[in-house]
């Protein structure tokens, strides 16, 4: 029976190229398992699926890449399969560097955005693996220790800056308050100026509500205004707005 959804899409795509699905339980892998595996005349293929979490979540993508890298030596071809919406967030250069291919799954089917190059399966036995693993572990531990030392030195520096940071924060808050007060004062002062100017001026004659609108500005009135005012019929049209004309 054929599978549905993305699994089914990928299965159909590989079957069309002469590959048959492999049972994951039959794979003898210590480095974790892929999400799907296929076998064909050209060799074995592993497929790892990318979730939507890859959008904006760097640690998810890093974990996924490490998982895929661990599997790279165990198959001849390795692909990440990603929904179309996630595809723009995939860094193809990184995949190319690790000899990993990319399949994009969308409404139109499966698109091979990046082909996986062929690599022979690693044949290393357990006797060789242990020392290699130990060496790697030692290397990681020594790097970790160096990072811890650097972190501790940084913590010391940060602690030294703490008191200064408190003062800076307080100063920043004060500056913000002064800025707001000054702006408010400006507003009030301008309003007072404007009100006193209006009180000093003679009261304008009251205009009945139905009074005709002011005529459009004449040429001398437009002097000094930008060129797009010149001969613009809209000036007259707009000056009559609000006088009972109904828009379409």
């Amino acid at each position: 029976m054929e599978m549905e959804g993305p699994l089914g899409q990928v299965e159909r795509w590989f079957k069309a190229r002469g590959f048959q699905p492999l049972e994951l339980d039959e794979l003898d892998l210590r480095a974790g398992k892929p999400d799907m595996a296929f076998e064909g005349p050209q060799g074995t293929v592993f497929v790892v699926f990318v979730g939507r979490e890859a959008i904006g979540n760097r640690s998810y993508f890093a974990d996924l890449l490490m998982r895929a890298s661990r599997l790279r030596g165990k198959c001849n071809f390795l692909y990440l399969a990603t929904p179309k919406v996630v595809a723009p967030f995939m860094d193809v250069e990184v995949l190319r560097k690790h000899a990993i291919g990319l399949l994009v799954l969308g409404d139109e089917g499966v698109i091979e955005a990046l082909a996986s190059p062929y690599k022979p399966v690693e044949q290393a036995g357990p006797a060789q693996e242990v020392p290699e693993g130990l060496e790697l572990l030692n290397d990681v531990l020594s790097r970790l220790s160096a990072i811890e030392q650097r972190l501790s030195a940084l913590e010391g520096e940060v602690m030294g800056l703490r008191p200064l940071a408190g003062e800076l924060k307080a100063l920043r808050g004060l500056r913000e308050q002064v800025r707001k007060l000054s702006a408010r004062l400006d507003v009030l002062s301008r309003r007072v100026d404007s009100l006193s100017a209006r009180l000093a001026a003679p009261a304008p004659p009251t205009r009945p509500v139905t009074a005709p609108s002011p005529p459009a500005p004449t040429a001398p009135e437009l002097e000094g205004l930008p060129s797009f005012f010149k001969d613009n019929p809209w000036l007259e049209i707009l000056a009559r707005r609000g006088q009972g004309e109904v828009p379409a």
Binding site: A165, V187, R190, A197, S213, G224, F228, R241, G242
Partner: protein
Amino acid sequence: MSEAEYKRKFTFGEDYGTSFYKFGPITCGERPEVIENRGYFPDESMIMFQLMGRPREVVIGDEIAQFLGAREELAERLVYPMRNGVIERDDERAWRVVEEITRYGLERFRPKADPAFDGFYVCASLSSVAPRYMYERLFEIHRRVDEETGLVRAITIIPQPLAVAIAHKTPTCVVIESGHGNTQVCPVSRYPIRRAVVALNRGGGDANAMTSQILYDAGYGDLAKEETIVRMVKEAIGLVPRDLDEAIRAAKAEPEKFRAVVKIPGTRITIDLGDESWARFLIGEYVFNPKHEIFQSYFARGMPRPRDVKIGDVLFRGMLDFGEAIIEAVEKCPVELQPYLYREVLLSGGNFQWRVPPELEGVAVDSSTKIKLLLKEKGVEEVSVEVASEPKFSVWRGCIIYGYAVPDRFEWSWDRMEGWMKFRP
């Protein structure tokens, strides 16, 4: 001081475009100031901010460059609020950017020591498909800014196509405003005819996508990801064909004549499409008519097809060609008016700035010729199509005229969607 005298100094225009915010008072003259219509939300967990105190919640303008981090972070933290012309009602981050940009724009032109100043008459402009809640939010933002700064005496909001028609002194016309993310086709007859507006989910961004695909196919996959380079290449080599099939035939027959070579200034990069130079015609054709069968192979290879999308209450059509869109908009208007509308079709926005190299005249055409050809194919011939001069500033200019000319006593009406909204007694 009379109303006219006051407005000669203190009318303020605001164009909230898809990529840029154009703003400034009437005293700017012919051109406003321009900043990118975007905001950056810094990562508050950064140790620098914990030590030095938080920066502003949202950063705008040139300052953004100092905060830009890794590429994958940008999609999450860099917000272009008007990319689609419509902001979702609950997209609070987008509204925060709009508020910050508005405050910045008005503060930038605060008059120095002018006792007559009691706030600007602000005329803002939004997409013609902006729903009512966008008007409400924009009024609210200006009210808050006025409370804090005293810079807004009254505000009105008009649709961008109306502003374009005003700036081009044309009371009856069809305006096609095409920005980065979308295109609006709006008939105007002294008022914008809102029920006849047709919106397209296609703009300059789609021409960029096509250019990126062409670069990828020509072996420049690494550059195809760089948005700025893609835009530069589009502007340098993109052409609109009179007839796409004929243009491709001509370019394949004489590859040297049509060869597309771009040198990226300030770098060692030179892009040469070589034998693939015929593809430069696809860039322009895709904007005007994505239905041509040649694009099917691109869609099949994963390039996203422009889809119909509903944003707010508005349906943005994906695959309608520009000719069909104009006809659909005009045919929603009274029959008597239709011939007058076809007589003035105004093209506005950066998406219509296609050049025609003199040696390729006849094969490549400008935007107005292409629109006429698309309309002619559909039986509409009595047409005059004009590309707006300085399209980038048309909307701002229309806002300035509207703000200057509409009387102060005409109060905002939600039925008519025009007039002045005042927050002070």
